[in-house]
């Protein structure tokens, strides 16, 4: 168990992977061993883009963020209107996507996403994170997550459908789950908060958000998880201004990303996973290799 932040060696091979270095051949093989039923669940929200309709506004997102835009550069409508097929009769549909992952869709944060002072996680200079991409600790440095996932289904443990905006997940909640956390595990924390949008629309969702308390964060970090994933937008809770109330010491992004190099996956959809009752599974997330990216949209999988 770690008492100190993980320093994987400063500026050497792999030191930008942070806690993903906890993934070893042994943990990967063990994770694969969690596949017992042969079911693969997607843990992501849909990416609902559009430009001439308000469709994208119907999916949970933080207020004021630029929503995904999805464009077709050629489609079936064009052929219906007379576009000639290619060559011997081929028709095709092509598209494009504009996406700002933070706050708008299921994504994984890079270690460069947040810091304090002049240094990123592990002493990397923050000044290397520039307009043309993060020269240090970008999402391209993370590599794939193939690990054992463990579910902390807090609403189920508390006997509620979903947490309230003001609820914070405590150490007692995590301990109540009764799951053994092993180094390299992905801690998947369910709050049920997307149901607030489903039931009450944007205003309900924007009223605040439940999330991990700082103590719970330290509890997880101390157990050497490689990734913390949740269905809320910021791992920690948010107030009605969509901001964290914690100070620097207790801020969940600071605890995980900055001090411990633990990647964060946010805005997951965990309802089907919750229904399975399974608490351990193979968790796979493969962030796009966006060079210098501060995050990647992901479609995380739980393979049961």
């Amino acid at each position: 168990m770690l008492e100190e932040p993980n320093n994987w060696g400063r500026w050497g091979a792999g030191d930008e992977r942070g806690a993903l270095n906890l993934l070893t051949p042994e943990t990967v093989v063990a994770a694969a061993g969690c596949v017992r039923e042969g079911r693969a669940l997607s843990l992501s929200l849909p990416i609902r883009g559009a430009t001439s309709s308000p469709a994208p506004t119907t999916v949970p997102h933080l207020r004021g963020r630029p929503l995904p835009q999805h464009f077709m550069s050629v489609d079936g409508g064009d052929y219906a209107a007379g576009t000639r097929p290619i060559g011997a009769g081929l028709k095709m549909a092509d598209d494009a996507l504009v996406v700002t992952p933070h706050g708008t869709t299921t994504h994984m944060d890079a270690l460069c996403h947040m810091w304090s002072g002049d240094e990123l996680y592990n002493g990397h200079p923050a000044g290397r994170v520039r307009s043309y991409g993060a020269g240090r600790c970008g999402i391209d440095k993370a590599g794939p997550v193939v690990a054992r996932g463990v579910l902390f289904d807090v609403p189920r443990l508390r006997g509620v459908e979903r947490l309230d905006a003001a609820d914070r997940v405590g150490v007692d909640d995590l301990e109540a789950a009764g799951v053994e956390v092993r180094p390299g595990d992905v801690a998947v924390v369910r709050t049920g908060w997307p149901l607030a949008w489903r039931d009450g629309g944007p205003e309900a969702y924007w009223a605040g958000q439940p999330g991990l308390s700082a103590d719970a964060g330290r509890w997880l970090a101390g157990r050497d998880v490689s990734v913390v994933a949740s269905d809320n937008a910021a791992i920690g809770g948010l107030n009605e201004h969509q901001l964290a109330d914690e100070g620097l010491d207790d801020d969940l992004h600071m605890i995980f990303l900055w001090r411990h190099g633990i990647h964060l996956a946010e805005m997951l959809w965990l309802e089907e996973l919750s229904e399975t009752g399974r608490t351990d599974f193979l968790f796979v997330a493969a962030p796009l290799r966006i060079e210098g990216g501060t995050a990647s949209p992901i479609n995380p999988l739980a393979v049961l």
Copy 2:
């Protein structure tokens, strides 16, 4: 073995998943059993975006396609220049991505990507593929790929570093690999063509592309693979105009996507996988849930 195109039931539950319906609890569990060494390899090219530099042009892509653009909406440079931290001292980097996956980066095609006549795969009306997204057979219908991957390392089998632009992979090449193909497997076909870019730059890469012959395509389709993945740009070969020479019957996209509902993953990077000498492994690809998308950028994994 299928003699006829896969019709998974017309317009019913799951009929837009095509050959991914071949993935069953048994195949998923068996695929997980391929994880013996505990190594996870990324099979994707980097997404190299930029706007004020020609960096994106340095990654393999088809000529004339809009290349990825990557933007930082706030970064370390801003703080160096005086931007005030948030609250108690938090700093953050955020970004955005503009991506047109076909022809520019590692991606998986949706079943709506290509067709002939007025119907998509399995009789879905092509007229449902419109400017605001594919109402049928979009990438959001595919779901995740968790399957056994089998590698056909054609250059290695032929004793060359990479195939030439005019080379076509025949049934004899596939049979020479000596791998047993099972229903639901992902056929990963290496041509080595990205090395043409590495060695000779864009002009060498654009001179044409090696790829599967129609007979090899039918051979794979007849063995009920769920996905065909390759490191070339179009599964089949391309001429110097970056077009397929085959007619409608023999076009590889028609054979796979349209007739058999077999998804395609293109522009993979298979060099490290080739070096491992492994021919079977757990293959995972989780396309983003882009509603109505014709494709998704992916970071496919081979877990050995």
Copy 3:
């Protein structure tokens, strides 16, 4: 005075310019003659883009539309953080803009923007308006607007600061202005509606919008104006669902764009112009030559 829709000749040279064909050497010279004070006023709203802040949401726009995004690909922050200058010491800032003009910023509609049935204005086939751009009646066909502008300052005429959401501008309002309308003139209709946003925020702005009545529209069309410009979002009024209440015959877009080929400029900022008290001036709008565009963001000028 026209009784019938303007048919400038079907499918011949210039027939996609619609009423802009009313601009003749004589009208252009006369318009230039309106420049007496030598002041040039911008009549546009700012384009406020951003991705990591909600700044774009602070400018008047229709609900649910994708707001402008503005990105810097290199900036002063990068140099502050250590980016090396170019060559002998040059530093540069570059940017990119993503913009969907309709409903989000000051823009001019192309004649292809709206129609009914299968034909655009002047009989052009609507099927030529496809995913890769409008093959007919795109904004690139409009050409520049250099014309006499005449202001109908309706709130001032009615003695109010701004119209209410339910107000419709009638023929009597237009006649009360006492301005002589000549063929080719740009009719600039002030409603004051952007002040609703300034005073009451988005919810006030979205409560509906004042606009021209159908009769007033026909009155203007009958006087052969080349363009109708207004500070509301849709020339006609809108209800609380941001939709027009008129039927097909009375819809203002149908009257102007479709039947008469009169271009529309929307979401202007007319407050300074109103303060000048001038009712005629040189009006200049130069839509970007976006091939096949349905609109262009513009910065229209009143030169007094």
Copy 4:
């Protein structure tokens, strides 16, 4: 005539407009007086966007820059394929544009576009130019250009169709034009270089570019022009690497933008203007009010 760079007052009202402050009521009225024939010419290249075709690559641009992308979010093809009209039968086409103006299309540079050291033009701190836009000297500070334009038609004066890549425009060329330059004028310098693309394609265009010599730049700056506009990509010449050869003292962007606050308009299309034989005219350019923009795409007009 100015001997020193224009310092319009440091950090006060209007000091971010640079030489556009030379536009006075008198110059504007005089400029309008240049309208004698009543013809309005567009001086811009088309913005040819597309995503599934290489169309954008067919318009002059600098190598390796992200080309415009144009998307339709709903179009005539959709209705041909069955999309239901709105309300009583309205159909509409909407679009979106992604544009990086520098090097890809006709645009006007903001004063923040280039500098040396830590200060922009007129002492504004370069550190205010950040990822979320230029806090100083952005294109939104420029305001509209309504001025007398004077054409220096260098190829015509030299009796050639177009200049060669290595040609530099000297003071003698400018003097040979025999045009009187008055304070506030827009100097329009024709090189004919877009014809290199028309005749020889991209490779010919990228071989270098003709442009103003430093002495010619100083000659113009000394005559208090408000804007320098040209049909080349960088006002000054470029070598085959698309870079300027001049040192800091002689760099044309430094002379104009940085020392004198003279805005630059680049990549114009001047062929029709040249054919008119007119050397003075009303020049109008209205950059979009992009807050913090480093440039704006423009459609500059010559009204004859």
